[in-house]
């Protein structure tokens, strides 16, 4: 009798779920627009796709409900704490692996085959790891929700682009300058928003990001507008260009010229920049200013009553976070050789923020893992060409990126609402190390 009613209720719930799925699928799957030969948009109807999606959801939901019945509600799983040995060795092993990665790829796949891996996966992911770590200072440590972080990335990129093309300054001079400019802009954004928190701060930072991109688009005398800045000088090996010429990198070191040299150098460059970001963040966390950031995230009123200068604390967080975005931005410009405002849209800010949130705010390892998943995931989607044979040649899996990310976010919020790595390691200890798990602290209190 009970089994019957539970099956009935499971059916009812599954029907409801499939109805929701159908509703969602209607604009996404059932209706599509295609360009015909005369470049007109034609509405394409794919009702079968919608029905398939709704059917899949129905079956899936039903199975989940039926299977879940046998189980007793599980007790909350205690946070997994790394065995001490693993925790000690893992970071350095990871860094060594990263340093070996391009060389291993080069020997394994050759200069042609390894390019994709070092460039699309290696460099691309590391840029976002660095941006994630930079934003982590602002959002994760200081708790200031910044939706316009890409603005500082843009400041860094345009700093290098303009300084190198207009004044002929080299990358190694522009890199620190780009960081300084971005930090100055960070402080400039910091001043007016000092009194804001939470939602209000988010809106103002969002607007700031849009303003920067609007200025870059419309102030054509300065930034050349939408057309962007072209032929930005490429990266050199401390003065030696990566060209086939006499005084190029390959000739100087007696190597055969290959385009991959530049990519490998870029890989190491961004790796070192990202590691600097990481080390600086770790150091700062142990200094009074870093602890003040975290205390500020926890409770601003308590901070004030303890004599912490909240104004300076917020400004340093904004400025430092922005500085690392500036470094990453000038790296972006030297890598692409071309910048235009399209690279600095709100979507970029959202992606970086998603990396920080998915990773677990404040967790360095979590942010790195989330960057691998988010950026690497996009690249993997491009590789899934076999899906074309199933869904037809016009099917492009990378267009479903956002759908999948949305799904991943929803699942994360259900299973790991505090991000991939939610435990926060205290920055000081009296005796032995102990990780304190996020699950012990109530939601909304931490």
């Amino acid at each position: 009798m009970r089994a019957q009613t539970s099956i009935l209720s499971a059916l009812r719930e599954s029907a409801f779920a499939s109805l929701v799925a159908a509703g969602l699928a209607f604009p996404i799957l059932a209706l599509g627009t295609e360009m015909d030969q005369s470049n007109r948009l034609v509405l394409e109807q794919r009702w079968s796709w919608m029905l398939i999606a709704a059917g899949l959801v129905f079956v899936g939901r039903f199975l989940v409900l039926i299977l879940a019945q046998g189980r007793v509600a599980a007790a909350p799983v205690p946070a997994r704490i790394w065995p001490p040995f693993v925790a000690r060795v893992l970071p350095s092993a990871g860094v060594v692996a990263l340093f070996l990665f391009p060389l291993v790829m080069l020997f394994w796949l050759g200069p042609q085959g390894s390019l994709k891996w070092i460039n699309n996966y290696g460099v691309q992911i590391l840029i976002y790891v660095m941006l994630g770590w930079g934003l982590n200072i602002v959002v994760g440590l200081a708790g200031l929700l910044d939706l316009g972080y890409v603005a500082f990335y843009a400041v860094g990129a345009y700093s290098y682009a303009l300084l190198s093309t207009q004044f002929g300054l080299s990358f190694w001079i522009c890199l620190p300058l780009a960081g300084l400019f971005a930090a100055a802009w960070g402080a400039m954004l910091g001043f007016p928003v000092l009194r804001l928190r939470g939602d209000y701060l988010a809106i103002v930072t969002l607007a700031f990001g849009e303003i920067v991109s609007a200025v870059l688009t419309n102030w054509t005398d300065f930034s050349n507008g939408k057309a962007g800045i072209m032929s930005i000088p490429r990266v050199t090996f401390f003065g030696l260009p990566f060209t086939a010429s006499e005084n190029g990198f390959a000739a100087t070191f007696g190597l055969e010229f290959q385009a991959i040299h530049r990519t490998i150098f870029l890989f190491y460059l961004i790796l070192v920049l990202a590691l600097i970001t990481h080390v600086v963040t770790l150091r700062l966390r142990r200094l009074p200013v870093g602890r003040a950031w975290e205390a500020l995230r926890e409770d601003e009123i308590a901070c004030r009553s303890l004599g912490i200068n909240t104004v300076n604390t917020k400004l340093t967080a904004f400025a430092l976070g922005a500085m690392f975005a500036g470094f990453a931005g000038s790296f972006f410009a030297v890598r692409q050789g071309f910048v235009n405002p399209d690279s600095f849209t709100f979507m970029e800010s959202a992606t970086i923020l998603a990396i920080v949130v998915l990773g677990g705010m404040g967790s360095q390892l979590g942010v790195a893992l989330a960057a691998v998943v988010m950026v690497g995931g996009t690249e993997v989607l491009r590789e899934l060409t076999f899906l074309k044979e199933i869904f037809g040649s016009s099917f492009d899996p990378s267009l479903y990126r956002m759908l999948l990310f949305g799904l991943a976010m929803v699942l994360m919020m259900i299973w790991r609402p505090r991000g991939l790595i939610s435990s926060r390691e205290p920055s000081v200890f009296l005796a032995q190390r102990k990780n304190v798990s996020g699950t012990h602290v109530q939601e909304g209190h931490g």
Partner: protein
């Protein structure tokens, strides 16, 4: 006559249109425990918070050890030797007990950190047991101990406590008040205490003020106020 350590003169403050303090006069002499009692919304906490500039004083003056501190930035006031344990304790929940204590020592630039840490463990042995635990996982009483210890880490000359008994079991309240009494007796710490628990507060304090609707209506020694029939009727009946 010695100068008061904290002197509030004709202080007026408001939250927007709502006037919270209507001209408060209050003195705390060095070595004293002074308490302000009153009902919910009487302006007790506002008085204390106004010393730190939130809400700002609209008129009137606040002096700390003879120096005017009216509407100075909070961190500068704290550096003068004035520590506050705010209402609701306001522990940093995701930070460990040790980190919480470190935050308190920031004002003192960590000059006496180790010695002060040992001293806090002597006063509150429970905190030593919990040293690596997150602040948010402590019990209410432990959090209150941590809030007081955190404030003491800055080596203040005046400790301001906002409702330390809030939400605590009677036994724990007793413990905490005992600690405050000993700090005052042994170390000569001056304490300014805001409390709803009038009976305990008046028994502890040398002097007390009674606040009603943003104004001070009565003042006297703790003993006098405890025996005052009006105070008994309004705040003490049934409170034992």
């Amino acid at each position: 006559m010695t100068t008061p350590l904290l002197s509030i003169q004709k202080l007026e403050a408001a939250y927007g249109q709502i006037i919270a303090l209507k001209g408060i006069d209050l003195d705390v002499m060095p070595g004293e425990i002074v308490t302000v009692i009153g009902a919910n919304g009487a302006g007790k906490s506002t008085t204390m918070m106004s010393v730190f500039g939130r809400p700002p004083a609209r008129s009137g003056k606040i002096f700390f050890d003879g120096q005017e501190i009216t509407n100075k930035p909070a961190h500068e006031i704290a550096r003068l030797g004035l520590a506050q344990s705010p209402e609701g304790r306001r522990i940093f929940p995701r930070m460990s007990v040790l980190e919480n204590l470190q935050m308190g020592a920031a004002v003192d630039d960590f000059r006496h950190f180790q010695a002060d840490l040992e001293r806090m463990f002597d006063i509150f042995p429970r905190l030593k047991e919990r040293i690596d635990q997150r602040g948010g996982t402590l019990s209410g009483g432990e959090q209150q101990m941590l809030a007081i210890a955190r404030a003491l880490m800055s080596r203040p000359r005046l400790l301001m406590l906002d409702e330390p008994s809030l939400g605590l079991a009677p036994l724990v309240v007793k413990q905490i008040f005992e600690v405050i009494r000993e700090l005052n007796r042994n170390d000569g710490l001056t304490v300014f205490l805001v409390e709803q628990n009038a009976f305990h507060a008046l028994k502890l304090a040398h002097r007390g003020y009674v606040m009603v609707n943003g104004a001070i209506t009565l003042s006297g020694t703790g003993r006098e106020l405890l025996d005052n029939p009006q105070v008994r009727a309004a705040y003490l009946e049934g409170a034992h």
